[in-house]
């Protein structure tokens, strides 16, 4: 039951973008069309879950026994970058269809702070392996929801010509993101 709450909590209450403000770069950069936003969201789910498993293993099996916990940032970045590259190579051969649908989004996520952020959160909260995976899955689903909602809003905004010139494009997108964030803050306190 705890896992269910953890999952729902990481989607809505602690939404990776709108509450924790991680991964804002793709949130604004890839959210102009809902098709690409969907692709990005799915790729994030894929990478985030894999990265959570790998970083948990590296942290608990390598860094903790050697008392090198302070190296986590460095090693997490190394692990995530290598993992994404490896997955990209493997997918291209093993599953070309999935590779095509994830496309350019895979390398884009290599240095995404949401991926690193979730790995660090898992570590700080002392989650077990299962909890880490659930948290990663919830966070990335939250990312997908947020970015698809944002893309839908921006598609409509881009058609509106009544916006003052100084607000067109990114400024109005940032205002929208802020309002969405406030809306998602409404979930806080529902799950402890």
């Amino acid at each position: 039951m705890n896992l269910v709450w953890l999952f729902l909590g990481s989607i809505f209450v602690n939404n990776i973008i709108l509450s924790r403000f991680l991964g804002c770069c793709p949130f604004l950069g890839v959210s102009t069309k809902s098709e690409t936003a969907k692709g990005m969201g799915v790729a994030v789910i894929f990478v985030l879950v894999l990265a959570a498993v790998m970083t948990w293993l590296a942290y608990h099996l390598v860094l903790v026994p050697l008392h090198l916990e302070y190296l986590y940032t460095l090693s997490f970045i190394l692990i995530i970058a290598a993992l994404v590259q490896f997955v990209e190579l493997a997918l291209k051969k093993v599953n070309p269809a999935l590779y095509k649908s994830l496309g350019i989004f895979l390398p884009l996520i290599t240095t995404n702070c949401a991926v690193l952020g979730v790995a660090v959160i898992n570590m700080n909260e002392k989650y077990t392996l299962i909890e880490s995976v659930v948290n990663a899955l919830g966070s990335s689903v939250g990312f997908l929801i947020a970015i698809v909602l944002m893309a839908g809003l921006r598609e409509r905004i881009s058609r509106n010509t009544n916006i003052p010139k100084c607000l067109q494009g990114l400024p109005i997108a940032l205002v929208t993101a802020g309002l969405m964030s406030i809306a998602f803050m409404g979930f806080s306190g529902i799950i402890q």
Partner: protein, 279 residues
């Protein structure tokens, strides 16, 4: 003391080595041979990613030519010279390339066609097309003129003049991106060799058309009877020219009482041009 330096260095070094070796192994194990022709074709494509070929962007088309047997003459922006280059790379004879361009099946300028609704919403044809009462125009088939097509054109070939889309024939490559986005389907593609077209999209009967527009097709059928090549038919109360049969003789242009049929290359919307060159 010394171990505080050696341990982390060794651990990170080993981690780096392991991942490096893993990636090196993966690049050999999972090596996928890409056909060099894909890259060659991609390099000579215009790179506008207009989607006129029916594939997702230039990359998709290059891939489809090599791997899915797509035709070599699908790139509207590149034209026949590009079709021949692609055919040369593929080692096949070039398929016949029919250059097309877009034209507006409407001459209802703000002066010629009544605008009944004072529309104050989002200036986008797709939004305007869904309001009750159809559009700002009294004619539900006409060009709305908010320029959604102008925005999607990658080649800067469209503009809005007197409430109507104007096509710059020299710039239009016939990709059809504007045709797809137009909620009224009032834009259409025609071969560049075609010189005569019907400039009305209305399916209403003659008397109804007359109420809302002075230049609409009245479905009278004079053009059908006057055409020596029998290329014109009436479909849904609208004259339609079969470009395969049309000989561009222009006899229908002189017969049409509503001045709806005209030459493709001249923009016939103001009365002077219509009287001097289009009729």
């Amino acid at each position: 003391m010394i171990s505080a330096i050696v341990y982390p260095t060794v651990v990170m070094g080993v981690l780096g080595l392991v991942f490096g070796a893993l990636l090196a192994f993966a690049s050999i194990k999972f090596f996928v041979k890409t056909d060099e022709r894909v890259t060659l074709i991609r390099d000579i494509l215009p790179g506008a990613n207009c989607g006129g070929c029916g594939y997702p962007g230039c990359d998709g088309y290059a891939d489809a030519v090599v791997n899915a047997g797509a035709g070599t003459g699908r790139c509207a922006a590149g034209g026949s010279s590009l079709a021949e280059k692609i055919a040369a790379i593929m080692g096949v004879t070039s398929e016949a390339f029919v250059p097309v361009r877009v034209f507006l099946r409407c001459r209802g300028t703000t002066a010629a066609s009544i605008r009944t609704v004072a529309y104050d919403g989002v200036k986008d044809c797709r939004s305007a097309a869904i309001i009750p009462g159809s559009t700002p125009n009294a004619c539900p088939y006409g060009c709305i003129g908010f320029g959604t097509c102008v925005e999607v054109c990658n080649f800067g070939a469209l503009s809005i003049v007197e409430g109507l889309v104007q096509v710059n024939a020299a710039r239009c490559v016939g990709c059809g991106a504007c045709v797809d986005v137009c909620p009224k389907s009032v834009l259409a593609l025609a071969p560049q060799s075609s010189a005569v077209q019907v400039f009305c999209n209305s399916s209403w009967k003659g008397p109804d058309v007359k109420k809302v527009c002075s230049v609409g097709c009245l479905a009278c059928g004079l053009c059908v009877r006057s055409c020596p090549a029998k290329a014109i038919t009436l479909q849904n109360n609208r004259a339609v020219i079969d470009v395969k049969l049309c000989t561009n003789c222009g006899s229908c242009i002189t017969k049409c009482p509503a001045k709806t049929i005209g030459p493709l290359n001249i923009r016939c919307v103001d009365k002077e041009t219509i009287d001097s060159q289009c009729a």
